[in-house]
Structure formats: C-alpha cells, structure tokens
C-alpha cells in the first residue's frame, strides 16, 4: 500500500491533493501506466460523488449567460476526430439543426405503426450518433454533405432543396460499383434537412439524390440532383 510507489498516488491525484510538481510527475507516470489510469478513472468518479454533499447556494443569475457568451466568443471547438462536417460547425444553422433533431422536429415514414414515436426517438439518436463521429464529404450540385460514421451508417445533409411538389419525393441512393440501392425518401424544402440513410455507405461509394414519384421507386428514373463521392479514408 504505502510503498512510496507512484501507484498509490492515484487517490491523491483524483482528490487534486498533489501540488503542481507532484501532479506533473504523476501525469507523466500516468501516460505509461494503464492500471493507474483505470484507478484514477474510478477514483475520480468516487471523488466527484463528494460534490453532491455540498450546500447549493442560489446560482448567480448572470452566470449562465456569461458562460454561453464566452463559449460563443471562442472559435468553434476543435474536434480532433475524423468527423468534421463540411458545414462550418459554428454556423448557427447547423447548431440549431442538430438541436432540432433532438427536440423532435422529425419526420419519418412509418405506415400506421404504433411504434411511431419510439422509432422517431431511435432515429434521432441514430442521427446524433452518426453526427458525433463521422467523416464528411461535401456534395456536388446543391449544397450539402454526406457524413459517414465508422459503422458505415450515414446521414445526408441537404441544404435548401426546393420542397418536392405534391406527388413527388426526393429519394436518396447509395451507389456502390454498379449496385444502386434506394436509401430513403425525404421532402426537401427550405432549411437544412438531415436524412438518415437506410443503407450503409461503404467507401468507395456514391450517395445521390433524385426526384421521384411519391412513395419512391426502386431504381432512379430522373437526373441526379446532388451527389457525393465517398472515398475510403
């Protein structure tokens, strides 16, 4: 236990009870010690439970505003993942759009199903999951992007495609070699649309959109309106 080895410092570290130099030395040690990292992770969880045993004074009224303003003033957070939507992450549109997914402004075709609500929530989550870790290919044609997660699940982001006229629908396609698969229907319209593709996108592949008759078709019958070539990363 108390053998002076750095291992036992995990508790002091998790309690922030090391001074600057000790902390630095321990972090160097941590980098090469998986067991210590596990220890620290679980001790951190325990230590942060201690936060629940404090009195809760009233929150200063302006603090939330201050935090949000400071966050806004910063450049958009740097996300060192593959993802990176082609759309500027800071663009409020995107921000509001992703939030909108979460709040359930959402439509999905599920003919007379009692599971409608449940499926909607599931799809929202699926879109958020994809968007939180995906790599993006901008589309040619209309503005938009395709974002493909490592799981090959993909979301098509379409900006301002004119609303499909009654009797028509936009249809997404996943094209792999000569294989063309229908991958979802959507209506378009002003603003940004997020379409969770119903087929996986395995690069190299192309994602395309055509305008088809209502209900969709099994193979495209009209010209491609927008497309993205997804290349292997």
């Amino acid at each position: 236990m108390n053998d002076g080895s750095p291992h036992e410092l995990s508790a002091a570290y998790a309690l922030d009870a090391l001074d600057g130099d000790e902390r630095e030395a321990y972090e160097t040690h941590l980098a090469g010690c998986e067991r210590c990292r596990e220890d620290v992770a679980s001790f951190r969880a325990t230590a942060s439970a201690l936060a629940y045993d404090v009195d809760l004074p009233p929150l200063p009224e302006t603090l939330e505003h201050r935090i949000i303003a400071a966050a806004r003033a910063e450049h958009p957070n740097v996300v060192p993942l593959r993802q990176r939507l082609a759309i500027p992450a800071a663009a409020l549109g995107a921000v509001a759009a992703v939030a909108a997914i979460a709040i359930g402004i959402w439509a999905i075709h599920l003919s007379n199903s009692l599971d409608h609500q449940k499926a909607i929530r599931k799809d929202q989550k699926a879109v958020i999951d994809v968007l939180s870790d995906c790599s993006t290919t901008p589309t040619q044609g209309s503005t938009g992007a395709v974002c493909v997660a490592p799981t090959e699940k993909a979301v098509l982001i379409a900006d301002s495609l004119p609303a499909a006229s009654p009797g028509k629908t936009y249809e997404a396609w996943v094209i792999t070699g000569k294989r063309v698969q229908p991958a979802g229907l959507f209506r378009g319209g002003a603003g940004r649309k997020y379409v969770l593709l119903t087929k996986p996108v395995r690069a190299p592949a192309k994602v395309a959109v055509t305008l088809e008759k209502r209900g969709g078709v099994s193979a495209p019958t009209t010209a491609i309106l927008l497309q993205a070539e997804v290349k292997p990363s």
Binding site: M1, N2, E8, L9, A12, A14, L15, D16, A17, D19, E22, A41, S42, F43, R44, A45, T46, A47, A49, L50, A51, Y52, D53, V54, D55, L56, P57, P58, L59, L63, E64, I67, I68, A70, A71, R72, E74, N77, P80, A89, A94, V95, A96, V98, A99, A102, I105, A107, I108, H109, I128, L131, S132, T169, Y170, F186, R187, G189, R192, Y194
Partner: protein
C-alpha cells in the same frame, strides 16, 4: 404536415424563431452523453442544457472550496468552457459526463484557492440559504447527498478527515501532513484507503452511480 411523412428528415425553417424563445430544456430528455455529443458540435443549447443539469452542483462545489462568489463563478465558467473546448475528445468509456465536469470544476477551484491563498478555514459547510428548485431535481439531489453523506460517515474518522480536507479544503497532501502533524506516508495511506473504501461503498449504490458505468 409538411415536415411529416418521408425519410428521416428534419425541417428547421419556421422553427427557428420558436426555438429562440424556448429554453435548452427542450434537450431535457437526452442522456448526458448525448448532450455532450451535441456540445462537441458547438451546440450552445446543449451547453446550456448541461449548465441546467449541473450548474448548481458545480457552483455549489466551487463556492464551498473558494468561499467567494466571483472566484466560484470563474471556476465554473472555466470548467464549462473546458467542456465546450474538449467535448469532442470526451470518451464515455472513461467517465460519466458529470464526473468529467465536476472534475474540471474541482481542479479549477483548487488551483484558484491555492493561488489566492484563501480558504484555509475548516472545510465546514458555508452558511447558505437552501434554494427551492424543481421538485424532482431537488429530491434527486437530496437522495444523492444523503447517500454520499452516509458513506462518508461510515469511514474511519481520520480517513474521512483527510479526504474532506483535501477535497473540500483544497489542501495538498504535504499541507495535510503538516497540518495534521502526521508523516506524509500516513496521509497518502489514509486518502488511498479511505477513497478505496468509499468507492466500494458507493459502487454498490446505483443512486450516486459511481464506479464503472
């Protein structure tokens, strides 16, 4: 009806103005992890939602350590900005979002208290007016508080003392050794054994939800 029907489609137009008048609580049904994923996409509403969930706790913790409103606000702001900047690197396997945030708050508050050379009184609860909040949240917090309080009470006194002085008082282990007149090794040992015991104790209690998620 125009937003309904086909494909997994989200329409935004026409909702924006509505959104701007609503609050981040629209995200209230999401898990903490999903909210952090949205923060990683620079979603201010998600950051606000995180604040609604943990702001009071964060501020309460910072205030307890710092005993100063302005400094506590600084610590909380820094912590939330830390989340804002690094949410993309957050991995749910390692920690819960609440743990991550509270860890940032704690670290920041402790750094500030050391820099300011303030605190240095007994880590007693500062006198504060209890606040009336949303009933469900209140009950939840009260339960968690009760749980951790009981677990602390079950620790041997000297382990509890070392942990409380370190966590709520911001003392380093060397300062503790000096203050308590014990060898450094003894202090390390008390913290380690005490925290391990607490981990075991709380791990069995899902209400506080510590331990592996």
């Amino acid at each position: 009806m125009s937003d309904r029907g086909e494909g997994g489609v989200v329409s935004l137009r026409g909702r924006r103005s509505e959104r701007s008048q609503t609050t981040a609580r629209e995200l209230a049904h999401l898990s903490d992890e999903a909210v952090v994923a949205l923060v990683a996409r620079s979603d201010e509403h998600a950051l606000a939602e995180l604040y609604h969930r943990f702001g009071r706790l964060a501020y309460g913790l910072a205030f307890r350590i710092l005993r100063d409103d302005a400094l506590a606000q600084d610590a909380v702001q820094e912590a939330f900005l830390g989340v804002w900047r690094a949410a993309g690197r957050f991995t749910a396997e390692r920690a819960k979002p609440s743990t991550w945030l509270l860890t940032l708050v704690h670290r920041r508050a402790v750094d500030l208290v050391r820099r300011e050379e303030r605190r240095r009184t007994e880590p007693l609860q500062p006198e504060t007016e209890p606040v009336v909040g949303e009933a469900a949240d209140e009950a939840e917090l009260a339960t968690q508080r009760q749980t951790i309080r009981e677990a602390l009470r079950r620790l041997p006194a000297e382990q509890r003392e070392a942990i409380e002085l370190a966590y709520y008082g911001g003392y380093t282990q060397s300062e503790l050794a000096e203050r308590l007149g014990e060898p450094l090794g003894t202090i390390k040992s008390r913290m380690f054994t005490g925290l391990a015991r607490l981990r075991e104790d709380l791990g069995a209690d899902a209400r506080v939800g510590v331990g592996p998620a």
